[in-house]
Amino acid sequence: MNVRIDTTAPTRRALSRPDPWCAATLLLGVLALAFPLGAATDEAAAIGWLDRPGSLVALLALLGGAGLGLARQAGVVRGLGPAGYGFVLLAATALAMATALDVVHDLGAAATRGFWLVVLASWLIAWRAVDGVAAFSVRDLRVQRAVDTVVPAVFGLTLLFLWEVLTVGFGVPQVLLPAPSMIGERIASSTGTLWADFEQTFLKAVLSGYVMGCTAGLMVAVLVDRVAFLKRGLLPLGNLVSALPIVGIAPIMVMWFGFDWQSKAAVVVVMTFFPMLVNTVAGLGAADAQQRELMRSYAAGYWQTLVMLRLPSAMPFVFNALKINSTLALIGAIVAEFFGTPTVGMGFRISTEVGRMNVDMVWAEIAMAALAGSAFYGAVALVERAVTFWHPSFRQRR
């Protein structure tokens, strides 16, 4: 019995064992009703559920969602698939979380057991919802892709929600961990500074260093590929160097190229060079023998073969290096700023604002760095999809 694999298991199990997530939510929700939402203070009585009809509605939505799940399993409700049920739960979760945010901002640290039980319940139901939506599967690839992005988005939003609710509800000191809403406010109020830092670190140092390092790596790889002796000597060394802590050259580069962005770009050049070299050399060997023989039978010369066959077939490897380098470049530039900068730049801002205990500003910089890093990576991935559309990994699955 217990060998049965995923696809059939839920329907069989459904008859015997109730959905644990739904059952737990139901239990927690009912339990929450027994407690007040907010604790009594000197000037006010405890805040009960009837004082906040909105939260009562949200709680009932959660309970309804969980109850629906159990009813589905018992066969009382038919015609609602796992994915459809997931979407129903998502709606209930959204309502519950929005209400919880509203409540926690009013009550602050006064929120008590009743409230936390609801938060726990909505977390459980969010998980159950994600579980349901993840089962969604249709023929239409575009719809499928859209739904597939819903799942991680819900996961991320749930994390943000928990972060916000926990920091506000438990009154976590801002120096330790500011709430996301505070970070958001800080981003909105200091766009000028953030943009200046972004321009200095990303547009000047990272991009120029990235372009130079990757181009140099590519060109040296083509050169090395031509000379077998050089290839055998340089490649193991290149592999070794990619395992070394290259960021360590940052202080030296700052000494050589000064405090401004040039030294950061130099660090980025060195960091991005070796992954590009090693990957491209591997990629240039990727064209198979038959293809090369075909080129030879066409009487194609070295350069023609290189441009028309070997470079295109090396592209998956080149893009692999480009993607690795996109994250390395940002790290290199920011770390190099710890060793001396003009008074602008993301690394500079982070290290000075930490010293001043302006942690929300630090988080704002981090959010921007994360955004820039993800966008950079995403852009490279998009170009990859356009250039290497022929590669098996991009063929439509199923």
Partner: protein, 315 residues
Amino acid sequence: MTTDAQVTPAPADAAQRGRLRAGLDRAVQGRALPIATVSLAIVLLWYALAVWLNADLQINRFERADQSWTFGELVLATWAQDRPMLPAPHQIVAELNKTVFQTGITSVRSLVYHSWVTLSSTLAGFAIGTLLGILLAVGIVHARALEKSLLPWIISSQTVPILAIAPMIVVVLGAIGLNGLIPKAVISMYLCFFPVAIGMVKGLRAPDPLQMDLMRTYSASRWQTFWMLRWPSSLPFLFASLKVAIAISLVGAIVAELPTGAQAGLGARMLAGSYYGQTIQIWSALVAASVLAASLVGVVALGERWAHRRMGAQP
């Protein structure tokens, strides 16, 4: 080949000549000679670069001392400066010799001491990160919802330049009473869980459907399938990831020492060197870090070979 030679022994000098030629062939065809050549070229280039970069400073110094100089003197002087732009390799070797062998290993001037400080947080972060990565991978392989919700975030977690967050992690953890090794280990962990998680997801999915079906016909439980099929077939992937992870973990530990004014560790050594313009000190710390990285990767490679042999792979 060798058995043939034993059966029909050739005349001694002919055999020797044959062996010599084979050795020469192997040297040209193999890796040793090319690597040696390239390394030698790098060292020569380094010396030349040292002359070129340090010359301005040295000429200035000569002129200030009203000293006439020849080119030979200039070259020698650029290789023996106190705080050169680029120290010559032998200066770095001398500094390494002084700080590694001539100094007691408990002294704060000893590179062994600093390396140990960095190594300990590297290993702690590596251990926790590997464990976390494996656990995540196991979860992802067994629960579809986890795969769909968690995997995109694991990937995008690495586009966050964690090294930029390092100072804050150190400060925040310091505020709740965690100092010294733990914040650095946390940063190493964050960097090195990623390759392990990604590699293990691939590795735990490596068994082909036929093998999975076989386990099913044996009526194996999930647990048994995991231990007897999935885990062993993921080991090659695990070790490939571990090599990346340990190198990156060292980077994390070094960088974590930079922004916090850490008192000890290779990163602190580099930072101190950069404050006081002690280039030789920076370079020797860099070399020590590189040696450390190479030997850590080497140890993992040894472990890999041992595990493969234990599993009956052909050597």
